[in-house]
Point group: C2
Chain length 472, copies 2
C-alpha cells in the first residue's frame, strides 16, 4: 500500500466510550489517550506518515494482554502490538485505529537455563537488555538487527541482521511462544526440547506473522555459547563486485563466518562522517569470526586469501573488544549515517534477498538504479545471506522524492523476484511490502488468507498488515 493509499483507508469508528472506561478501570494510568502518546505509537522508523491508534495500553502481564484482547474482540476493535517502534515497514501504524498494546513494560527475563542454552523472556525485553542479563553466563543471544528492538517485535517480524549468516534468524532461534489469540485465549507453542515432531509448527507460524495472527507475549529463545575467540576485520575492495565475490566464495567454501557486511563507497563516506572513522572510501567488507583461537585464525586466513585474490586492500584487524564495538556500532549506525547524507530527510529502505549466486549481478544492476537516482542512495547489507538494503533519503516535502523511491523499490523487488529471491529478507511486510506478496507467492497467498481467517476471522489483529482481508 502506498503512503497516499493509507489516507484513503476506510474511515475509522471511534473507540466505544464503554470500552475506554473498562480499560481505564483495569489499567488506570497505564491507558493513555493523549495526542502525544498516540502519535508516539503511530509511527516507526520508516518514512510512512504517522497514523496514531485511538488509545495506548501498557499491559504488564500475559493475563492483562488477554483481558484487553477479550474486551477489544467483544467490541470489534483493532489491536496493534507495539514493542519499541523500530520497525521500518509501517508495522505498527494504526491504519484502522484501535488499541495499541505497548508491551515494553513486559520486560522481565523470566528464566535463563545455562545448561540448556535457552531463556524465556517477556515480549518487551530488548536484545541488548537480554545480553546484559546474560553477562557472565558464558552465553549470548546472537540475533542483532542493529536497533535495540524488543524480542517480541523481532519474533513478530522474523528479524535477523548481522549474525544471521552463522546463527540463523529468529525463525531458527525461537523455541517456543506464549501467544494471546484474537479472542483473548492464551496458548503456548513449542517447548524446550531441541527438536520435536509433535504436530503443526505453530511457533514458526507466529514468528513473522507481525501481530496479525496473535500477540506474542513471551518467547523461549535459543542461546549460544560465547565464542572462545572473536576477531573482526575490515577490508576495502576496488569494486562492489570484488567484495561480493569474496563473500560468495567464503560462503561456498563453508567458512563459518559470523558476520559479513558490505558497505558501498557512499555508505563508507557517510559512516566515516557520522561515526568519526577514517576508513578508506571504497567498497568495504566488515567481517567477524567466532570460534576457538585456532579456528578463528584459520577462518580469517582463508578469507584474507580469498580477498587478496580479488583485489582486497588494507585488511585490518580489530582484535580489542572496544575496537570491535566501535566498528559494529558504526555498521549499525550506517542507517542513520546514510540519512545524514541529505540532512532533514527520512529514509526509505529496500530489503531484498537473493540466492547468493545472483547477488553480484543483482547488486550490479541495482547500482545502475542508484546512478540514475536524483538523490544520493547508499547500499549496504548482510551479503553473506544474499540480503542488502538501499537507503533512499527522501524529503518529505517533495512528493516526487517518494514516488522516485517507490519506483526504485519496485525495480529492485522485481529484479530480486526474477532471480528467485524475496521482496523482504528481514524487515517484514507491514504495509510497505503488501503489494509485492502476490508476485512472490502466487496462489500460496490464498492459503495465507485462509490461515488469517481461521485465526482472526474478524480481522482485528493488526488489520491491513501482511495480508489484505476483505476491506482491510
Amino acid at each position: 500500500m502506498t503512503l497516499s493509499a493509507i489516507h484513503r483507508a476506510r474511515p475509522r469508528d471511534p473507540l466505544p466510550e464503554a470500552l475506554l472506561g473498562e480499560l481505564r478501570a483495569r489499567l488506570g494510568d497505564r491507558l493513555a489517550t493523549s495526542a502525544a502518546a498516540r502519535e508516539q505509537h503511530g509511527k516507526d522508523e520508516s518514512a510512512h506518515p504517522i497514523t496514531p491508534p485511538d488509545a495506548v495500553a501498557f499491559p504488564t502481564s500475559t493475563a492483562e494482554v488477554a483481558e484487553i484482547a477479550r474486551l477489544c474482540a467483544r467490541d470489534g476493535v483493532p489491536m496493534i502490538a507495539f514493542g519499541v517502534g523500530t520497525s521500518v515497514e509501517g508495522h505498527v501504524l494504526a491504519i484502522h485505529g484501535g488499541v495499541c498494546l505497548d508491551l515494553s513494560r513486559m520486560n522481565r527475563v523470566l528464566a535463563v537455563h545455562v545448561d540448556d542454552l535457552d531463556a524465556r523472556v517477556e515480549a518487551g525485553v530488548t536484545r541488548k537488555q537480554l545480553n546484559r542479563h546474560l553477562h557472565g553466563s558464558g552465553l549470548f543471544f546472537p540475533i542483532d538487527p542493529g536497533a535495540d528492538a524488543t524480542i517480541g517485535g523481532m519474533a513478530a517480524t522474523r528479524a535477523s541482521g548481522t549474525n544471521a549468516v552463522r546463527y540463523g534468524t529468529m525463525r531458527e532461534n525461537v523455541l517456543g511462544l506464549t501467544v494471546v489469540l484474537a479472542d483473548g485465549r492464551v496458548i503456548h507453542t513449542g517447548g524446550r526440547a531441541r527438536k520435536s515432531s509433535a504436530g503443526y509448527d505453530l511457533t514458526r507460524l507466529f514468528v513473522g506473522s507481525e501481530g496479525t495472527l496473535g500477540i506474542i507475549t513471551e518467547i523461549t529463545l535459543r542461546l549460544h555459547p560465547q565464542p572462545e575467540a572473536v576477531s573482526a576485520a575490515v577490508c576495502a575492495f576496488p569494486t562492489v563486485d570484488a567484495a561480493v565475490r569474496t563473500v560468495i566464495q567464503t560462503i561456498q567454501l563453508g567458512v563459518p563466518i559470523a558476520r559479513c557486511e558490505l558497505l558501498d563507497t557512499l555508505t563508507v563516506q557517510a559512516v566515516n562522517r557520522y561515526s568519526k572513522l577514517s576508513l578508506r572510501e571504497a567498497p568495504m567488507l566488515f567481517m567477524e569470526f567466532h570460534g576457538t583461537p585456532a579456528g578463528v585464525e584459520e577462518q580469517a586466513r582463508t578469507v584474507q586469501e580469498l580477498a587478496k585474490e580479488l583485489g582486497g586492500m588494507d585488511f585490518e584487524w580489530a582484535t580489542q573488544q572496544e575496537d570491535r564495538n566501535r566498528l559494529w556500532q558504526a555498521r549499525h549506525d550506517a542507517y542513520l549515517a546514510c540519512r545524514q547524507v541529505r540532512p532533514g530527510s527520512r529514509a526509505f529502505t529496500t530489503d531484498v534477498c537473493v540466492p547468493i549466486s545472483r547477488l553480484a549481478e543483482c547488486i550490479a544492476a541495482t547500482n545502475e538504479d542508484i546512478t540514475r537516482a536524483s538523490m544520493p542512495v547508499a547500499l549496504f547489507g548482510h551479503v553473506g545471506d544474499g540480503n542488502f538494503h538501499l537507503v533512499i533519503p527522501i524529503d518529505e516535502t517533495r512528493p516526487a522524492d517518494l514516488e522516485e523511491a517507490e519506483a526504485i523499490n519496485r525495480r529492485v523487488v522485481s529484479r530480486a523476484l526474477e532471480m528467485g529471491g524475496t521482496c523482504t529478507g528481514e524487515h517484514g511486510v507491514g504495509i510497505g511490502k503488501l503489494d509485492y506478496l502476490d508476485a512472490e507467492h502466487g496462489d500460496a497467498m490464498s492459503v495465507m488468507r485462509s490461515l488469517k481467517e481461521a485465526l482472526d476471522p474478524r480481522n482485528l489483529l493488526n488489520p491491513g498488515k501482511v495480508i489484505r482481508v476483505r476491506d482491510s
Copy 2:
C-alpha cells in the same frame, strides 16, 4: 490411538466405481487395487496392524497428484501420501480407507545449484539417491534418519536423525515446497533466498504436517559443503550416565560435533551380533566430527578429554571412510539389531526428546522402566539433541506384550513432558502419538484444529493422523 482402537474405527465406504474408472483411465497400470499392492501400502515399520487403502495410485508429476486430489475431493475420498513406508508411527495406515498416493515414481532430482548450496527434488527422491547424485559436487545433504526414506516423507514428518545436532532437522533444511492442497490446487511455498520475512511461514507449516494439510510433491533443500575432514570415534563408558554427561558437556561447550549417538549395553550387544563387530559391551558413544583438519582434531581432543574425565575407555578412531561407513551402518542397523534380540518380534519404539539438562535424569529413570520390563528393551539415540529411543520387541501373538509396551511408552512420555520435553523428537505423531498431544500442547491444539479445518475442511488428507477432527 491404540492398535485395538484402529479396528473400532468408523466403517469405511467402498471407493465409488466411477472414481476408480476415472483414475484407471488416467493412470492405466499405475493404479493398483490388488490385495498385495494394497497390503504393501497399508503398513510401515511400526508394530501397528496392516490397514490397507482401497487403491494405490503411482503419479509421476505434481499435475497428476493434483488431478487425483481433485477427483478424490469431488467424491469425498481420503488421500494418503506414501513414500517408501519407513515411518514408525502408522502415518501411512489407511484407517479410513481411500486412495494411497505412492510418490516413489516422482524421483527426479530437478536441479542442483552448487553455488547456492541448494537443490530441488521430487518428493520420491530418497536421501541416499540425492547424496549419490551430489557425488563429486562438493556438497551433501546431511539429514539422516537411518532408513533410506524419501525426502517427501522426511519433510512430512519433520525427520532428523544422527546429524541434526550440527545440521538441524528438516525444519531447518527445507527452503521451499510444492504442495497439492485438499482440493487439488497447487501452491509453492518459500523460495531460494536464505531468509525471508515475506508473510506467513507456510513451508514450516507443511513440514511436519504428515500429509494432513497438503501433499508435498517437490522440495527445495539446503545443501552443505562436504567437510574437508571427517573423523569418527567410539568410546565406551562405565555407565550410561557417564556417557550422557560427556555429551551434555560437549554441547554446553559449543563443540560443533556432527553426530553424537548413545548406545546402551544391550544395544551394543545386539549391534555386535547383528553387524559382526566386537565393541566392548558397555554403554557407548558413537561420534563424528566435521571441519577443517585442524578443526576436527581440536574438537576431537576436547571431547576426548571430557570423556576421559568421566571414565571413558577405549576411545577409538575410525579415520578411513570404509571404517566410518561400517560404524554408521551398524548404528543405523541398531533398530533391526535390537529386534533380533527377540527373534520374530516387531519393534515398538519410543521417541521422547528433553532439554539436555534433564537428559541424564530422564534416561536414568527410563532405565528403571527397562529393568522392570518383561522383555529385553534397548535404549539408544541422538543424545546431542536430548532425543532417545527405546526399542521394545513385542510378540504380536501376545496382547500382553503390546499393553506392556504401551504402558512403558506412557511412562516415558509423561516423564519427558514433565521435564519440558516432547512426546516425539523426530518420528512424528501418526496414530501412535495422537493421545499425547493434548498433554503436550494444551489449548494450542485448538489452533492446530483450526488450521486443519481451514486447509482441509472435509478431513480428506490422511484423516485420523496428527489431530482428531470430529469423527476421525
